[in-house]
Symmetry: C2
Subunit: 237 residues, 2 copies
């Protein structure tokens, strides 16, 4: 009996979540952003996906590879509880856990044949950053996996949406296939939960672009869009 198990990266996620912020806190919350599951060369075997189109949803088991860790802490402070209330790590879906394993159910939109990466899965509703390593893909089985039930501290959390305003000339700088996704991500309020000051300028990396915005009450306004890597002067920072 071994105390550790070595798991191999079988695939990686590719999508517009190119930065640290704006990634949905759970799967299924943002449906307009597509994620492609690209298998590593060793696992690029068409047969391994035989029959997968018959399932409407899949599970992804993946690695929180961007979560900085120094050992583990028994409690975490969920951002959506304002960052002040402590909850046991096993009562949370926090990335900061003994094993940095993430679990997401996603909608399977299709299987795509690509020239360079073999068959890839196209899914929506993922809450994974671009490049995230994936350890397993499983079919979602409603008869075993779907339950109504009590959801602890997460039940009190509302589903507030922001009204999003983007000047036409800024929207045009975003690749067309990424626009709907960006609008949905912004409507979900991508600010850190414990850092919400009216009038403050925030930045978000999405589809390789740096999106600047402010939030006033329930309205989010995009103020600037720049290709990543360029950092224009920020009058408020």
């Amino acid at each position: 009996m071994s105390g550790t198990w070595e798991m191999r990266v079988i695939a990686r996620a590719h999508n517009d979540y190119t930065g640290k912020f704006g990634i949905p806190r759970q799967s299924g919350l943002v449906s307009e952003v597509l994620t492609r599951i690209v298998f590593e060369p060793e696992y690029r075997v068409p047969e391994a996906l035989r029959g997968i189109e018959g399932f409407s949803h899949l599970w992804l088991i993946w690695v929180f590879d961007q979560a900085e860790r120094e050992g583990w802490s028994p409690t975490i402070r969920p951002p959506r509880l304002g960052g002040n209330t402590r909850v046991g790590v096993f009562a949370s879906r926090s990335p900061y856990r003994p094993n940095p394993i993430g679990l997401s159910s996603v909608r399977l939109l299709g299987v795509e044949r690509t020239a360079d990466a073999g068959l890839t899965l196209v899914v929506s509703g993922a809450d994974l950053a671009d490049g995230t390593p994936i350890l397993d893909v499983k079919p979602y089985l409603p008869y075993a996996d779907a339950h109504a039930g009590e959801a602890g501290f997460t039940e009190a959390l509302g589903d507030q949406r922001l009204e999003v305003s983007v000047p036409e000339e800024l929207l045009e700088q975003i690749p067309e296939t990424s626009r709907k996704g960006l609008l949905e991500v912004l409507s979900r309020d991508p600010r850190p939960g414990y850092q919400r000051t009216a009038g403050r300028a925030y930045g978000l990396s999405f589809a390789g672009m740096n999106i600047r915005f402010t939030v006033d009450a329930d309205r989010l306004t995009v103020t600037d869009v720049q290709p990543e890597g360029q950092h224009p002067g920020n009058p408020r920072a």
Copy 2:
């Protein structure tokens, strides 16, 4: 970017599934068998479970440590399809996958304080063998995790139950707390899917007992019960 991740065993499952057969094929199918999640000493920290009682269901992410593996195969033959039809490994929940990771949703019945193992979780509906290593425990979030949908090849599979008959003197040899669980496991037909011959004698290890039985049409009859390790002569073997 590393191609492998080392995951640590944080807990182990303890239950009456002491053998290779009779373990439900998915979670939630057998509710009368209790499983205790006993944390490894390093993770035996009461604070890590703070707030977990507010959730009705949990996810267990665990290791198929009993699945023999020699590399991986792109397709598997699901026992419930009779063992002859091949399905892609990522379209199945087979244990024989690139990473031997299992995923199960279980009902949380309570948190028990024990003298020797600290706080343990008592759950029902698990499909894990006794002693199974667990890598993560997460709360089940219905708003993100529950979906209706299509379930591919598993949709055609019925929910056949067997009528179970156990002579009183044999039932009494089973520990009282394990009897309901055994009856439910037997009603689920614990025979291997590709090995179903009327009149044949089968054996099942449950709660450390060796249960012998036959199946004739829809009726399962227990013929002998012995403490594990004793192997009485089997007239048919």
